[in-house]
């Protein structure tokens, strides 16, 4: 792995000698963040979910995706922000949301009745309307075969709309679909369910984040970092960081 890093540095230095433009220093865009209220996740993401861009949270069933997003939604509504929940499959449970600290008065719930295209269009409309601090596109129950067919152009469009509106756009899915369009990707895994006596107490989840900075850097140390095996689009990201955190979602 270290040899790979050294090779990348060597290759870049050779390329820089001939084509300096791709390697010019560009200031990294600092984004505001919405803390999730879960210390482990806030530490993992360096402060929370970034605004003005797309974040993907993916995982299979019972991996704590909804718990994480409800915590985020609770924090955002507690700050007085208006939020939108675009629910592709109609799985939103208002009672769970209230128990997670969400102020329902500040949440616009859009039930798309299982139609992913409608969900994408609704997300676009809501972001364009402006004024929403957090927009959640919930495609957690949508089949992979459908979400994989969403063209990258749609994700780019949503990301640019979020950038213009300054809203944090969070997509909840079963797997990463937006690839290089999303700035932050959090992959959730179930570590273990928590059973206490005759009760399902909760679950312990593991979150792995990958950040994609869509900027180029000349920092050799950054280039020396080994790319994680799961990185999907090397061309778009000059610097990837991968971290793991654990948290519990309990009743």
């Amino acid at each position: 792995m270290a040899n790979t890093g050294a090779s990348v540095i060597q290759l870049r230095s050779q390329l820089r000698a001939r084509f300096d433009v791709p390697f010019e220093v560009r200031k990294r865009l600092e984004r505001e963040q919405i803390p999730t209220g879960i210390p482990a996740i806030d530490k993992l993401t360096d402060g929370g979910i970034p605004r003005g861009t797309l974040t993907e949270i993916c995982g299979t069933e019972s991996t704590g995706r909804t718990a994480l997003v409800f915590a985020l939604l609770g924090e955002a509504t507690r700050r007085g922000e208006c939020c939108a929940w675009i629910d592709t499959g109609g799985a939103f449970d208002p009672l769970s949301a209230v128990e997670a600290g969400v102020d329902l008065d500040r949440v616009l719930w859009v039930n798309c009745g299982g139609n992913a295209q409608h969900a994408l269009k609704s997300t676009d409309l809501l972001i364009q309307a402006g004024g929403f601090g957090l927009v959640v596109l919930d495609m957690a129950d949508t089949a992979d075969a459908i979400t994989r067919r969403i063209p990258l152009a749609s994700w780019f469009r949503l990301r640019h709309a979020a950038e213009r509106a300054g809203a944090a756009l969070v997509a909840v899915e079963q797997q990463i679909n937006a690839r290089s369009c999303s700035t932050l990707q959090i992959e959730m895994r179930l570590k273990k369910p928590l059973w206490i006596g005759k009760l399902l107490r909760g679950l312990m989840a593991q979150a792995e984040s990958q950040k994609h900075f869509l900027t180029r850097t000349t920092d050799p140390s950054a280039c020396a970092l080994p790319f994680p095996a799961r990185t999907t689009d090397l061309s778009a990201c000059a610097l990837n960081k991968s971290h793991v955190a654990e948290f519990s979602a309990v009743r």
């Binding site: 209220g37 909804t66 799985a91 616009l108 859009v110 309307a129 129950d141």
Partner: protein, 460 residues
């Protein structure tokens, strides 16, 4: 200079009011037959008072007495007591009114009850031998005050033509509606949009001129009846209820267009009637540290577009697809209703919380160490076949959820609603929390009435 005209038209009050409206917006109606109106400033239009009086006389078109004076009471008394046209120059009120019979004093004053002459006073004046305004005006004020009191003072002031009260103008009922009957029936939405645009601009313009807005727009389209029964023509009604008062004709037009394109009239349109409910406009002052919220006009339009895209149910039911869920005060599973999205104005708690760049360690939310376990509901609950061994579910078979149960906790019995009419509301079931070998956690329940198993949702 203040100038008031009074029309006394016995039996023709509506005509007198209509005539007065042609000259002034400030009209005081004194039923059954008198109208007083403010005519100051009309010299530049009609010339001296004589010309103005001639114009008023010409316009009313029916026999009426007209008087113009510097105060409303003098004009009213002159119109009541003198036939034809009377113009009283300022300062000559007492002189002109002097020959009028004293029983006319305060006779036409509908509102000023204190200025009306009581029967005791009338009898007393008759005993004193006072027959005219002039005779009453000449009496010493101190003596009148001593014998008749405040009423006598007021009546004597009126007899001298010295009234100085303000008019009590008629207030038009605030109705903002427009109606247009079409020569030819309109069959498509596009030409109808032009008509709606015109009507909306008119209504919004009138609302704006009165510093008002609206929170409800009702469009009523009279449709062509295929049976040619004009008395019972079918109607198509569109009702826009807005959570906040608005005055944006373009937004209203777009909302009406979306509604009409989603729920088109069943027949060509013959008549368009538009009505807006007037309310006070929204006044908000956003704080510097308050998070921004969607502009109500844009939000309403967006919600209308979403409803058009997704289709929608009735407000107040779970079928409404765009809105805010409101939990109901019951233990019945998944009980909520939907209402329109109308967020309260946010209040800045303190600057540190409102500004997003604060250090993470300072956030108050750090008190919450864990997230809450959430349920993702299947709507409706998915039917499943469950194999039960020793009263414990051991395998679940359904089209979407399938596998061996590795852990099951339950049953948790819950029931209720049996006291209400209708079997739909009652529930009686045993709930289980299960883990499948895939690791997924589900809530399973067996309906006691049917004995069937359902998967209510997954824990996530």
């Amino acid at each position: 200079m203040m100038m008031f005209a009074c029309l006394h038209a016995p039996g023709n009050l509506p005509l007198a009011v209509e005539c007065a409206r042609g000259f002034s917006p400030y009209i005081e109606e004194n039923p059954p037959d008198t109208v007083i109106f403010d005519v100051r400033g009309l010299e530049s239009l009609y010339g001296p008072p004589e010309m103005l009086a001639r114009e008023i006389e010409r316009r009313i078109g029916v026999p009426a007495s007209l008087a113009i004076a510097s105060n409303p009471d003098a004009a009213m008394h002159a119109a009541h007591g003198i036939r034809g046209v009377t113009i009283i120059a300022p300062g000559r009120e007492a002189e002109v009114l002097a020959p009028l019979p004293v029983n006319l004093l305060g006779a036409g004053l509908l509102y000023a009850a204190a200025d009306r002459m009581s029967s005791e006073t009338a009898e007393l004046l008759h005993l004193w031998g006072i027959r005219t305004f002039g005779e009453f005006a000449k009496l010493p004020p101190l003596g009148v005050a001593a014998r008749i009191g405040d009423e006598g003072i007021n009546l004597q002031r009126l007899a001298r033509g010295e009234g100085c009260r303000q008019l009590r103008p008629l207030v038009d009922p605030l109705e903002f509606e427009e109606e247009l009957e079409l020569d030819d029936p309109v069959e498509s939405i596009e030409p109808l949009s032009f008509i709606l645009s015109r009507l909306l601009h008119d209504v919004c313009g009138r609302l704006g001129a009165r510093s008002l807005a609206t929170n409800e727009v009702r469009l009523r389209l009279t449709l062509e009846d295929v049976r040619k029964n004009e008395a019972n023509s079918p109607e198509h009604v569109v009702l826009l209820r807005l959570p906040v008062p608005m005055l944006d004709a373009k937004a209203f037009l777009k909302m009406l267009q979306l509604d009409l394109s989603g729920r088109a009239p069943v027949a060509p349109v013959l008549k368009v009637h538009l009505k807006a409910e007037p309310v006070k406009p929204r006044r908000t002052q956003q704080g510097l540290f308050v998070p921004s919220s969607p502009e109500p006009e844009k939000l309403e339009l967006t919600v209308a577009r979403l409803r058009h895209l997704l289709g929608d149910g009735q407000a107040g039911t779970p079928e409404l697809r765009v809105g805010t869920p409101v939990l109901m005060d019951t233990h019945r599973p998944d009980s909520f209703f939907m209402r329109g999205f109308a967020p309260r104005q946010a209040v800045a708690q303190n600057r540190r919380i409102a500004v997003a760049d604060m250090p993470v360690v300072e956030t108050p939310c750090l008190e919450m160490k864990n997230a809450r376990l959430c349920l993702r509901r299947f709507r409706p609950p998915r039917y499943a076949q469950v194999i039960v061994v020793n009263r414990q579910p051991v395998r679940v078979v359904s089209p979407s959820v399938n596998g061996r149960v590795v852990m099951a906790k339950g049953p948790w019995r819950t029931s209720g609603g049996w006291w209400r009419e209708g079997g739909d509301y009652a529930w009686d079931r045993d709930e289980w929390d299960i883990a499948l070998e895939s690791g997924a956690l589900y809530r399973l329940f067996q309906d006691a009435a049917q004995g069937r198993w359902f998967i209510e949702g997954s824990y996530d």
